[in-house]
Symmetry: C2
Subunit: 355 residues, 2 copies
C-alpha cells in the first residue's frame, strides 16, 4: 500500500480483462497501476483516514501532542531468497528503513514477522536473520518485536518476511509527495535497475548471467546528510517496485505538476542496459532497492547533489530532470534524439516477486 | 517472536528428533517450546536488544525522551480464512490490538501487510478488509500504512496478513511478565479454547460440527477499564497459540514464581470440553483470541474481576488460581479429585495454522 489513494486511477488507460478485476493476478503486486487500483478500491475505501490517504511511503503519526513518528510496512516475497548483492533479509530491513527515511524521519525501530515454510532449512533462516542483523546495524535501527508462523510445505516459497519501521520526524520536516514545485531539480542517487536485473539473473531462468549485484542498501545516513545541508528537499522516494517511472508519476499526480526527464542524463549500467534490451524491459520500470529520487529547490540542488556523490551509496548521483507546470500529473522524457515521449506508470506486472 | 528470550529453554524435556533442529517443522509455529527454542537460537541471539530480550507480548520503545510506545507484530496464516465468529482479518486486527493492550498501552495505530495468492477472489479480500475495518473501528485504532504483494498460485493459502500495532503507554504503567508476585490472584476473562475448536470445526476435517464461535475480540476497552480501578495489575497476557498453559508457564519463568491453578475454577464451555475429549486435546493448550489472563494483587483482585464481568468480553471471568513461591518457574494444577499435576508448556504443534 505504498503511495495509496492520492494516486488517481483515472489514468488507467490500458484495458484490463474483467477477470483481473475479480481475482488477484500477479499484476496486483506490481507496484504500478493495477496495484493502485486494487488498493484504492479495496483497502483505502474501507480504511479511510488522513494518514493512509496522504499517499506517501509511510504515515506520519503522533500521539496526543507527542513526537511525530513515521511508520511504514512492507511484505517481502522475493524469489530466489538469495541473489547477487543481497537476500530477502537485507531487502526486508533496507526496504522499510528507506521507506521511513524518505519521509525525512530518522528510522529507529523495526518489527519483523516471518512466515516459514515447513521443511525450510534452519541454516537458511539463520543466514537471513544474520543478514537482517548486519543491515539493521548499518542503518542504526533496532529490531524490537517479531513473530514466526509456520505453514505447510508448498504454502510458502521458503519464507516471507513483513517488516514495519518506526522513525522520528523532526518538527521542521515537511517532505511529502505533494511538495514538488515547478522549477525544482530532480536528482537520482545512482544507476537504475541493478536490483531487478540482479534478481532475474539469480533466477537463471532467462539464460541470463551477469556480474551485476543488487543495490540493496539502507539510505538513511545519506538522506540525513542531505537534509543537513538543505531545508528545501521537497520530495524523496525510493523507486522500488514499478521503478523510477512509477515513483515520478506518483509524485507528479500528488503535486499536480509535470516532470520532465532528460534521457541522456539518467545513469544506467551497461549490463542493465543490455540485459533490458535483450529482455524487452525499460530500466525506468525496473525495481531498485538502494536508490533515492529527490526533488529539491533549484538553488540548493547542486549542494545536495554533491552530498549524495560524497556518500558510498550516491557516487553516481545525477541531475536527471526538472519539475514543470506541464504536463500536469504526467512525466515527459526528452529523448536522446531530441523528441519527447510520455513516461507512463507501470501497468500490470513486469517482474513478479522482485522484492 | 512473542515472549522471546526470557523464557529459558532448559525445560526442553521432550526429545526432539535431530531433523527438527535442522529444518522447519510445524512445531516451530506452535507458540510452545519448539518455537521458543527456534526464537532463542535463531533470532534473539542475533538481534540482541533489551526490548526484544524483555520477553513480553510487545516492546516498549521511546524516542529520545518522548512518549513511551508499545509496538507488537504478528503474522496471521489461519486456515480456513473464515470460521464461525471471525476470519483472518478479525484475527489480524484483534491479535495485535490485544498484544499491545496487555502491555498496558492504549492501542492507537496499526499497519497491515498482505501476501495475496494469485487467483484469490477479490470479493474474498474485500470481506477480509471490511472485517478489519469493523474490528479496528471497535478497538478505536487506525490502520495507517499497508502493503500488498502477490505470489503465484499455490504459494500462499489465499492470503496471509501481518499486522503491527503501536500504542501509547502511560508513565505510571509497569505491567510486565516479570511482575507476578507470590500471593497475587490469577484471573481469566472467560472460557478457554473457543477459538481453536471453532477453527477446527470450520475445517470440517475432523467430522466435528459445533455451534461454537471463535472468541476473537479486541480487549483494549476492558483492559482500560480494569486499569482504571487498579494500579496493581502486575501481568496481563492474551493466551493465544499454546493456550493458557503456555502463557502461565512463560510468566512463571519470567517472574521466577510458581503458579497454582484450581482445575474446578477454570471456565470451559461444554462444547469445548467434549470436542477436546473427542480429539484428545487439553483446553489449557488451545488458542484463544479474545481472552485475557491477568495477575493482580490479591487485595484488588475482586474489584478487577467485577470490572471484567461487567464487560461484554468478560462476562464469564473467573479467579482460577494464585501465584506462589513454589514450584519456581512452573505451573501446578490442583485437580478436581484433589491431586496435583504439573502443567507444562506446549511442546511441538497441536493445532497448526490456528491464527
Amino acid at each position: 500500500m505504498r503511495n495509496p489513494t492520492k494516486v488517481s486511477i483515472e489514468g488507467l488507460n490500458c484495458p484490463v480483462p474483467l477477470t483481473h478485476r475479480e481475482r488477484i493476478v500477479t499484476g496486483h503486486g506490481s507496484g504500478g497501476k493495477m496495484m493502485q487500483e486494487l488498493i484504492a478500491k479495496t483497502f483505502t475505501s474501507q480504511w479511510q483516514n488522513p494518514m493512509l490517504n496522504a499517499g506517501n511511503d509511510g504515515s506520519v503519526i503522533s500521539a496526543r501532542g507527542y513526537a511525530r513518528l513515521v511508520v511504514s510496512t512492507d511484505a517481502h516475497v522475493v524469489s530466489p531468497l538469495f541473489f547477487p548483492g543481497g537476500d530477502i533479509g537485507a531487502l526486508a530491513v533496507c526496504g522499510t528503513v528507506n521507506d521511513v527515511a524518505v519521509m525525512g524521519a530518522k528510522p529507529l525501530y523495526l518489527t519483523a514477522s516471518f512466515i516459514l515454510e515447513e521443511g525450510l532449512e534452519i541454516s537458511t533462516l539463520e543466514r537471513v536473520v544474520e543478514s537482517m542483523r548486519a543491515k539493521a546495524e548499518e542503518a542504526g535501527v533496532q529490531i524490537v518485536a517479531g513473530d514466526t508462523k509456520v505453514v505447510e510445505k508448498g504454502l510458502a516459497d521458503g519464507l516471507y518476511i513483513s517488516t514495519t519501521g518506526i522513525g522520528l520526524l523532526a518538527d521542521r520536516c515537511h517532505i511529502n509527495g505533494w511538495e514538488a514545485k515547478p522549477g525544482d531539480a530532480v536528482l537520482i542517487s545512482g544507476t537504475l535497475g541493478d536490483h531487478g536485473i540482479a534478481v532475474l539473473s539469480a533466477r537463471g531462468a532467462l539464460g541470463l548471467e551477469t556480474e551485476l549485484a543488487s543495490d540493496v542498501a539502507p539510505l538513511n545516513e545519506m538522506i540525513a546528510d542531505m537534509m543537513a545541508v538543505s531545508k528545501n528537499i521537497h520530495v524523496m522516494r525510493d523507486p522500488t517496485r514499478g521503478g523510477l517511472a512509477t515513483s515520478l508519476n506518483e509524485i507528479a499526480k500528488q503535486s499536480k505538476v509535470g516532470i520532465v526527464l532528460e534521457e541522456g542524463s539518467i545513469p544506467i549500467k551497461p549490463a542493465v542496459e543490455s540485459a533490458s534490451e535483450l529482455l524487452g524491459f525499460d530500466p525506468l520500470y525496473i525495481a531498485n532497492e538502494g536508490k533515492l529520487v529527490a526533488i529539491v529547490a533549484e538553488d540548493e540542488a547542486e549542494e545536495v547533489l554533491q552530498v549524495m556523490r560524497s556518500h558510498k551509496y550516491g557516487k553516481e548521483a545525477a541531475r536527471i530532470g526538472r519539475v514543470a507546470t506541464e504536463p500536469q500529473g504526467r512525466v515527459l522524457m526528452k529523448t536522446l534524439i531530441g523528441s519527447h515521449r510520455m513516461v507512463d506508470m507501470l501497468m500490470g506486472e513486469m517482474l513478479p516477486r522482485i522484492c
